[in-house]
Structures are given as C-alpha cells and as structure tokens.
C-alpha cells in the first residue's frame, strides 16, 4: 500500500526529517516541504512537538556573555544611518548615486566595516517640526560642505555615500531631544570637515571626511572642551585611504556649548591634545 503524500512527503519521510527540522538544519526546500506536509497532513505529528520542545533549551543553557561596550553604539549608528533624515538625504541621494554602499565606522578599537544598506526614507516619529526646520538648516550646511567637494571624481562615489550615511546618522542623533550639533572644520577653512552630534546621554556621533589617513599607531582623537576646563578625550579612531570616518562613542552628558575638537595623536590614549587641532566646532542645540 502506498503511503499518501502531503507536500511531496510521506509521514515516514517527515518523521525521518524531524530532528533536522526542529534543529533548523534543513535546506530551505526541505523545510518548506515539511511545513507543507504538516499543513496538509491529518496526523498530529507529535514528534515535532516532542523533539522541538527541547530545542530552545540548547541556547538557554549557554552562559551569557557580555559583548564589547562599543557594539551598542555601532548598532545604533548603523540603524540611525538607515533611517536617514529625509531633508538631508533627498538632495544628497540625487548627488551621489548608489544607495547600497556600506558605511564605515571607526571605533576606538580596530576598525571594522559596518554594513549599512539604506532603507526607505521614513521620517522618524521623534522629529518635531521646529527641530526639522533647524535640521534643514544644518542639512543645508552639510550639503554646502558636500557641494564643495569634487563630485566629478566618480571613483569617490562610494566613499561619499558612506560619508553621507554618516551624516544622516549624525543628524538623526541630533534630532533626539536634548541633542546638540556641531559643524567641524579646520581653522584654515579648507581640509577636514564634518558634523558631530552630542546626544543628551553623552553619545557622540561624528562623521568626518578629507582626513589624512592614519599611519601606524596614529589615531584621530575626539575631544570635548567645556569653558576653561581641560579638554576631555572621548575616543580615538583610525582612518583609511578614503579619508572619511564615522565614529560613535559615549561619554558623560555634555554641557551646552562644548567645543568638539579633533586632533591627530601618535597613539591611542592621549590625555592632552597634540596640536594643531585638525578640526573643531561648537556644539549647540539645532533649534538655536
């Protein structure tokens, strides 16, 4: 007697596949065939529940492991860059082509690529009209900075795209209540430039370009300077040949009007800045 097939499988064949099915190690086609069988078959197939009920305990038995603290910031920066600020992104997207190039994130540790494909433009619910206007001004400034670059160099499109995503991340961070925004530039008016957002919780999101690549143990160190107090280092990052970087770090909440500065240090861990200052800007609420 031939056993009936449901979803191209007999009950015996499904029983055979149950361990792989519940452990999630079937190929897509086989897993789909099992599902189709379970949907159509009149039998309960209790073995699915019997064996599958054990599976969640396998992960639950693992000892929790604390991830590196900077991972949260990487995730938030990447997420923020995906949910771009529409006011800033629209014109930029027209200017610099593909939307799928990965952004790069510089961290205080070894630099790691941060995949950040760009999703649909969706205004975030946290954005308020007044803040949007202020951000539009900031974005326009960012656009002006971007516009000054030589977009005819098509080889730099992906680099610019990555930087653009960083700018979106900065502006998203700046849109959070209590955040401040700083436009960074070299004192000479030419050279490195970028934006930094300082969130109320002390998270600093920095997007820079036109930086000289770091060599050896060199790092760019970000500093916060409040009034006459000594500069406070908030983290360093290396820069590759692209000259651009997106850097996220977290420090103590920052007073209004702090100066965000960047210096090139011979090695990580600087406690006093090595002059000259590469770029600097004053942080202030976007609504100012």
């Amino acid at each position: 007697m031939t056993m009936p097939r449901f979803g191209d499988l007999t009950c015996d064949e499904v029983v055979e596949l149950v361990p792989d099915f519940v452990l999630g190690t079937l190929g897509d086609a086989e897993a789909e065939a099992v599902r189709a069988h379970l949907t159509a078959c009149p039998h309960a197939h209790e073995e699915i529940a019997e064996l599958g009920g054990v599976v969640p305990y396998l992960a639950a038995a693992l000892e929790p492991v604390e991830p590196p603290p900077e991972l949260l910031n990487r995730i938030l920066a990447a997420a923020a860059s995906e949910r771009r600020v529409a006011l800033a992104v629209g014109p930029l997207a027209e200017a610099d082509g593909p939307r799928s190039a990965p952004a790069k994130t510089a961290t205080s540790g070894p630099s790691r690529p941060m995949t950040a494909p760009v999703g649909p433009v969706t205004p975030g619910p946290w954005r308020r009209p007044g803040r949007d206007f202020a951000l539009a001004v900031a974005a326009a400034f960012a656009l002006a900075l971007l516009g000054a670059w030589n977009l005819s160099l098509q080889g730099q499109v992906s680099e610019l795209t990555a930087y653009r995503q960083g700018i979106a991340a900065v502006l998203d961070a700046a849109a959070a209540p209590g955040s401040q925004l700083a436009v960074l530039a070299a004192d000479s008016g030419t050279g490195p430039r970028g934006l930094a957002a300082v969130r109320a919780d002390g998270t600093v999101v920095l997007a820079m370009r036109d930086l000289a690549p770091t060599v050896g143990s060199q790092v760019y160190e970000a500093w916060l300077i409040v009034g006459d107090r000594p500069p406070v280092p908030v983290g360093g990052f290396s820069v590759g040949s692209s000259g651009s970087a997106v850097f996220v770090t977290r420090t103590s909440p920052v007073a209004r009007g702090a100066i965000v500065a960047l210096t090139l240090e011979p090695r990580p861990g600087a406690t006093t800045p090595t002059l000259p200052i590469v770029a600097r800007g004053i942080a202030s609420p976007p609504s100012d």
Binding site: G24, E32, V55, A60, A78, T122
Partner: protein, 197 residues
C-alpha cells in the same frame, strides 16, 4: 525612553516605528544571550560582534513584519542571531556543500515557540547539567547540528559515523534531553521554536 517594564512586543512595536531608543532597549535585554549564541557558533569575537550587529539591524529593518503568533520576540531574535551566525561560519567553510541562506527572517517560523515558558522557568545550571549528562556522541551530534549548523549528513562525514547512527544519536539525544529536563522540573512544552531554515 520606553517603559522599563514594557513587554518585548511593545518595545518591538516602537522599533517598528523607528524609535532608536527602543532598539537600544531590546539590545540591552538580549545582548548577552545574543552575543553568547553568536560567539558559541562562530568561535570568533569579531565575527560574533558582526553577527549580533547584523541581527539587530535585521530586527530594525523588519520589526514591522514580526508576527506574534509565530513566536516570541526573544525566539525570533535569537533565531535570527543563530541563522546569521551559521551563515557566517558557512562563509568561512568553503568546502561546505550547503547552500548559503540569507533568509533568517521571522516569516520562516511557522510553529509556536516555547521561549516564554522557557524564560519563565529557566534554571541555566540544571539545563547545562542535563546537556552534560548526555552520552558524548549524542551531545556532540546535537551540538554540531544546533551550534554548528551541520546537517546530519555533514555530521556523519565530520564524525566518521554512519548516517543512520547519527540520526539515531540526534533523535535519542533530544529525547534523552527532554526526559532529563522533565526530571529536573523543566518539562519542555510540546512545540518547536525552530521551523527549519
């Protein structure tokens, strides 16, 4: 900032609305479990970081597609982590004949999961002891499947054991584990958290 006592589902709804602080809240809740799973599978801290980042970005992008009926947020998230981690090690395993799967998405889960019950009655030490008490070959086969992402055929090739033996070990190991968990007061509910890949 989201309510400290907010349910996972409420937090995920905020994530779906694009609230970055909700994503942070979800991360704070599950970071250690997600990272432990990724680290166990990849055995590489850097790769595990990438997997966790990738998984949370997947949640960020697809939170609106989460269907509560298909499993808890925790199971959904950890399923993504696990699948991404296995994809990661498969990419490092060029000899593998397994197809790569980038589809660690919530809509793959077609069965109700048991995470709420597991989380509510979790005694990690007892569960670990139950796993440790399994005969070595059974535990090895289950761990190669769950944490290594190997099919039973691959486990057979890896361990030099006949396929039929591997099948028996996995099935018997899961049944033995179930019995041990019941003895330890962790009666596994009768449903699955995994729905294949």
């Amino acid at each position: 900032m989201a309510d400290l006592d907010a349910t996972d589902e409420a937090i995920l709804a905020s994530v779906a609305n694009g609230q970055l602080d909700a994503l942070e809240r979800l991360y704070e809740r599950y970071r250690t479990m997600a990272y432990a799973t990724a680290l166990r599978i990849t055995a590489d801290p850097g790769a595990a970081e990438d997997v966790v980042q990738d998984a949370f970005l997947c949640v960020w992008r697809s939170a609106a597609r989460y269907a509560e009926s298909r499993g808890s947020v925790q199971a959904w998230l950890l399923s993504i982590v696990r699948h991404r981690a296995i994809d990661s090690i498969r990419r490092r395993r060029p000899a593998s004949a397994l197809p790569e799967s980038e589809s660690a998405m919530p809509n793959e889960m077609t069965l109700p999961d048991v995470w709420p019950e597991v989380a509510g009655r979790l005694d990690r030490a007892a569960i670990a002891a139950a796993l440790d008490a399994l005969p070595g070959p059974q535990r090895e086969a289950i761990e190669l499947a769950y944490f290594g992402g190997l099919t039973q055929q691959e486990i057979a090739a890896r361990t030099g054991s006949p396929l039929g033996t591997v099948k028996s070990r996995v099935r018997l190991g899961l049944l033995t584990l179930r019995a041990a968990l019941i003895d330890a007061g962790h009666a596994p509910p009768g449903s699955s958290a995994e729905g294949g890949r």
